[in-house]
């Protein structure tokens, strides 16, 4: 069955530190990959997406993600986090020729001052 796993429900990092949020998916086939962010009391906003080409994609606010096909992973990274990055981050996958997007469970990011 198709699934998306974010193994870390909560991550806490210090302001200015680097960040990696993990995402793995299971299923063969061609995936479209997304990272969304949800700030408190808001809907979801797109951070970045990948469908082909350079496996490292750049998003908004200094975020990037790397698609590693051999590992079925699409981890999100940021070199230096800011307190405003506190939010819930969702990884999502849509497989080719399918109408629906499948979400991971989400990772809540907290930033220590």
């Amino acid at each position: 069955a198709q699934s998306v796993t974010q193994p870390d429900a909560r991550v806490t990092v210090s302001e200015g530190a680097s960040l990696q949020l993990r995402c793995k998916y299971s299923y063969s086939g061609t995936p479209y990959l997304f990272w969304y962010v949800q700030y408190p009391r808001q809907g979801l906003q797109l951070l970045l997406k990948y469908y082909s080409g350079d496996p490292v994609v750049q998003g908004v606010n200094g975020f990037e993600a790397e698609f590693i096909k051999s590992n079925s992973s699409f981890h999100l990274r940021k070199a230096s986090v800011h307190w405003s990055d506190s939010a819930v981050y969702f990884c999502a996958v849509r497989w080719y020729n399918q109408g629906k997007l499948i979400f991971g469970q989400g990772t809540k990011l907290s930033i220590k001052p």
């Binding site: 974010q6 808001q42 979801l44 906003q45 849509r94 399918q98 109408g99 997007l101 979400f103 991971g104």
Partner: protein
């Protein structure tokens, strides 16, 4: 910027009550979706639609009906609400032109079933 609106933003009802959640998009998108968000589960797809009059079953459809009356409007119906349906509900839309297209989300409706 694509726009998706939802109403009401908050709703409280009692067990057994009828509830209708509304979603409107002005993006001329073909696809519309209803999700529920619960801690530990992320977003789970309830129903979705490819266009007016079309309905597709999602991953957690039990207890929910949906109807797509126009290109713009997608409704989620809870005819006998239960406390297990207390959740945050999101509507989303996207163009069908390309599978990698972004989904645009509404602000959410918080539903409490007492």
């Amino acid at each position: 910027e694509a726009a998706v609106t939802q109403s009401p933003r908050n709703k409280v009802t009692v067990t057994g009550g009828n509830v209708t959640l509304s979603c409107r998009q002005t993006n001329s998108h073909n696809y519309m979706y209803w999700y529920r968000q619960d801690t530990g589960h992320g977003l789970r797809l309830i129903h979705y639609s490819y266009g007016a009059g079309n309905l597709q079953i999602g991953d957690v459809p039990d207890g929910y009906k949906a109807t797509r009356t126009t290109q713009e409007d997608f409704f989620l119906l809870l005819e006998l609400a239960s406390p297990s349906q207390t959740s945050l509900y999101f509507c989303a839309s996207r163009t069908r032109d390309w599978g990698g297209a972004e989904q645009f989300f509404g602000p959410g409706t918080r539903l409490t079933v007492l």
